[in-house]
Symmetry: D2
Subunit: 364 residues, 4 copies
């Protein structure tokens, strides 16, 4: 029972302290007590109600993506405004808000020209759980609060908006950046949470045929419910199969949502001349572009890579899709854990067992 836990936390934690899921060293992480942060100029502190675990967090705790020891992990949050720093206007304590995984300043050169995710420099928009303490904690400090606090409409539950923060914003962006015209054909490679959102995004943007690829039949079933019109398992002749499904044309847009050479190359080989490869996978090694797959550089291809878009305008716009009943992401929340049990949640999420897609972490 949540109330019990809150009661317990109230008893256990000295005033001014909170629990936080902290990275210590590769393989070493877990709940610690930390001081509740305070909001400086332009900042806010949110009491976290709901957060989640991202694939990137798994890379962090394994030491595959490097962050400093002692950092609180996590970059998605729905919560209550606890404190507003000087210069933050138009909000009040107690309001329910969410923030994107990416928290741009809005005022640097990159932001002012629309490059919010590259705020201040390469990947600079990603701060929470990367360069500053993150959201898997009782409270989290939100930088550039004016640009990032998105008020959640009363009619929406926390669970309905949580995944907009990262995977939906990323997966949809894969489709948005893919130059999908009304009636275009799309193939989406890998149907993890982000790939599933890319499939949904392609549907939202007016694709006709949407071919979802994944080795897991369960995920392909979710893909079909999210808009895929065909589903395929990886195979040596995957690109040929896709080409056949499109009457020999190749797809207009291929979306890579895993981060491997195999999926990237299959995406490239499935593309029609003049098509777009939209990549949102995180790569851990060099990519090879076979000369024949790029038509010797003469195929009029476009390849785009995209980091999750953030900022409150993005979040509010995506919330409008939920309010209008255009999307329902709650089927992706297959499991729920309390913050106290977050290590078990990491284990389950890492294992990919029990049909897990995303885990909601209840904090308060």
């Amino acid at each position: 029972m949540i109330l019990e836990i809150e009661d317990r936390k109230t008893k256990q934690l000295p005033r001014g302290l909170m629990h936080a899921n902290v990275f210590r060293a590769p393989g070493e992480f877990g709940l610690e007590e930390k001081v509740i942060p305070h909001a400086g100029p332009g900042e806010a502190v949110i009491q976290v109600r709901l957060t989640t675990i991202c694939g990137t967090d798994i890379h962090i705790v394994r030491g595959e993506y490097s962050v400093k020891s002692g950092l609180t992990i996590g970059h998605e949050a729905v919560g209550i405004i606890h404190e507003l720093g000087p210069g933050v206007h138009g909000y009040r304590i107690g309001q329910r808000v969410m923030t994107g995984a990416i928290t741009p300043c809005g005022t640097c050169e990159a932001c002012l020209s629309g490059g919010l995710s590259q705020c201040g420099g390469p990947l600079g928009g990603w701060k929470l759980g990367n360069t500053i303490d993150g959201t898997q904690a009782g409270y989290v400090l939100i930088p550039h609060a004016q640009a990032n606090l998105a008020i959640v409409p009363d009619e929406l539950a926390d669970e309905q908006v949580l995944l907009l923060s990262d995977i939906a914003s990323t997966g949809f962006a894969a489709a948005e950046r893919g130059h999908i015209k009304l009636g275009d054909t799309v193939a989406v490679f890998a149907q993890g949470p982000i790939g599933l959102c890319a499939t949904l995004g392609a549907r939202l943007l007016g694709a006709s045929q949407i071919i979802a690829v994944d080795p897991d039949p369960a995920r392909l079933r979710v893909a079909a419910s999210f808009g895929a019109t065909s589903t395929l398992s990886p195979a040596p002749d995957l690109a040929d199969q896709i080409r056949a499904l499109t009457g020999g044309r190749g797809v207009d847009t291929a979306i890579e949502a895993l981060g491997t050479q195999e999926t990237f190359e299959n995406a490239l080989r499935s593309l029609r001349p003049g098509g777009t490869l939209s990549s949102v996978g995180v790569y851990h090694g060099d990519l090879n572009l076979p000369v024949d797959a790029v038509g010797a550089g003469l195929a009029d291809h476009t390849i785009v890579t995209t980091l999750c878009p953030g900022g409150k305008e993005r979040m509010q716009r995506l919330m409008r899709l939920v309010t209008a009943h255009r999307i329902d992401l709650t089927p992706l929340l297959t499991h729920v854990f309390e913050l106290e049990d977050i290590r078990r949640a990491y284990e389950l999420f890492s294992s990919r067992a029990k049909g897990v897609l995303k885990i909601a972490i209840k904090v308060s």
Copy 2:
């Protein structure tokens, strides 16, 4: 029974002749016998199976839009290839095809820069039933056949693709030209057949809130089934109502689908700063842009007008939406008439009685 009629026609019509619905003078039109056309270089002749009546045809028979006496009316067709002229490749006699209302050449300066509808000059893409004989006939000559014959997949019925030719292509284009971003809000002014397709188009392109406006409750019900999330009747404070529905912001995109000062002005007044007014209405008088409604020219507005896009690529892409079960336009086909009864069909369509939206005209 269609077969009876065909039988009758076979008896009645001397070899080489066909029936055609011909404009004679304002208020004067009807079936006449005409010689079946022959295909010159680059042309094709289609035996028409299904056509329809457009609002423009009503203007033509009333003399409100001027065409030459003796012209066969009509610009939508699904039919069978009857003859292929020299230089038309990749087709064969007997194939079922459809064509867009707009039949661009593909090879003039306008076409080569993507302006297919303005082929060769102002409105030049619109030839059928405007500058050359149209589709309300047993046979129709299709100019620039290579650019315009779109093969209909076997699994689709004539009725499923007929409306792609004009109203769906136009209505969808209203949305496509409206710069709708994922999650944007849209208002569509008038829910005639084109407005309904614009509503559907806004939904297909990822709008969240879609506000449909029309005085007819029956049409608003269809609008709701096509994706409208709110429906409104025209009222003096319509723009205020829309602004209120969008939390004071105004809509991101306003679509005008009637062609009157009132709808145009309401569209303009409903728009947020920086928003887009996408107009597909046909206007019969000057338009007035009130200085306050355009923010004295400083509101960063975009106003676009659009003529129906055509060409076979457009038609094939839209047919893919039908094949993929993304759209079903058959609810718009409220009535069916034989070509022999086309005058009665015009009467019904003009009257807007009996819930008529679009009428399928069976030819063969």
Copy 3:
């Protein structure tokens, strides 16, 4: 002599006070003493070195554009950072900076989606000399300093960058928003300072034929030096003349830079089907769109209106054009006055006498 004036000002003005050009009532304005402003959180105060008078300022002092009594006029400034409020990072006192006429916050919904000029609401980006004290003063408070202070490279003189603030940013935007493709033809209606910058902008963006229109032969000569390939005086058959110059096609892009029905309508009539009318004029009455000039709404036209783009990224990007010797706006600065003589400067600027285009106002 500037030093004398500074000396005089030092003597005359009690510590903490400054001179400011203040609007009192229609027809009533002039220098007053005001307290030097202080920078709150997120703000900065600049000691103004150079400012200018804009056509809008003339409307303000005449009472044709309404601002509150007591407001300091002016929205362009090059100066020295005098004070930085809490939360403004990356700058230091004494740096030379400039700001755009438009000073967006960067963090509201409009700004985060790229609509910087409509920051917070209609025309909301325009604050200086409109809703808060402006730049025709010894010092000016800059709101949202983090988003708006653009450091001026040492190698550039104040005079080289002053006009980027408003007229160049606006005039260039007229071209940028006009969808000019490489080799396109452009007509620019009116060759005041903004129109001249639009002409230059069209050239910068790769137009081929650029037709400049103005009744003033002197301005047409400047237009030719800024890139116009033909120059025309207004005439009843102006649109026909332009059409003839383009081989009957009409221009791809028509830019309106005055704000009158006549120029707007001529722009519209000069346009090819599918072309873009880009308007940066400020209108004082309703606009009429003749039904034939818009092809009954079927001409695939685009009409865009644009408010001056601002923000430091814009300013820095435009300054790079000066640094790279791509543009030189100093020929537009036909006259120089001291702040003490600003009423005489207003008189000259209003009169359009002596070939005046823009007047630099030296403050310190």
Copy 4:
């Protein structure tokens, strides 16, 4: 003397025959007598006046790019209309025309959606000297003549328009596809004829800083005259040098104009987050994208490859730039040969000796 040569050819060649530069086998090519082609439906025959040799032609004669034995080489032409096939309208025998290297049909799905270069399938727009007889001949058959015959204005010499056909259209496209905003910074890797045109294209589109890279000081001097603001020789720390030149930002757009791993990788490493790599090089091996250079797929990069755009609209638009004195490509025509001496021209062009950039081949 050209007249003498024509006289000689008239004597030497039996009626109905012409000279053509024919590929026989790798390393084996030269002038042969061929029958003058005849124009079928939709085709035209041009009497060639001026053509040139392209880098691709060198690959062909060396056997590095495979074409069928007996093919006439060459894909650029300025000439006189000699014959018009049925269905070609709006032209007359004797008119001077040019055609693009790419001759799209205008009527296939790819063309109708704007993908003219991929007409009918991968690289399908490139026909002349690739899949059908090319332009290094007395006469050449132009397929899809209606879409490809661009009339040359009388005031332009053959030499002024010849290079628009391929290298200018390609080099400019490198810039056009690079998302260059007004004032952006651009680096162009390799200053061969296409790279030089890309440099010029970046200038035409409003770039500020343009950094040209090439090992050849002579080509860098031409680059400076074409708009480069800095010139660099390749060096191990090239990307760092470019980053330093842009104040640490990296360039907004990097253009690859050679087709090697080294230039591609340097282009990628010079790019700011969110920047665009526009590639027009022809690659002869796989491309490697280092994981750090693509920011693990999270840098919001765009990579585009482009085949030369063609079609008469493109050619006419580019010719307008010459007519308007915006560009002068004749400095690239460093040498002139008669068709009779074409083998010597190939030798010189292959050797890159004597400062050769492009060679004009006079045919008639």
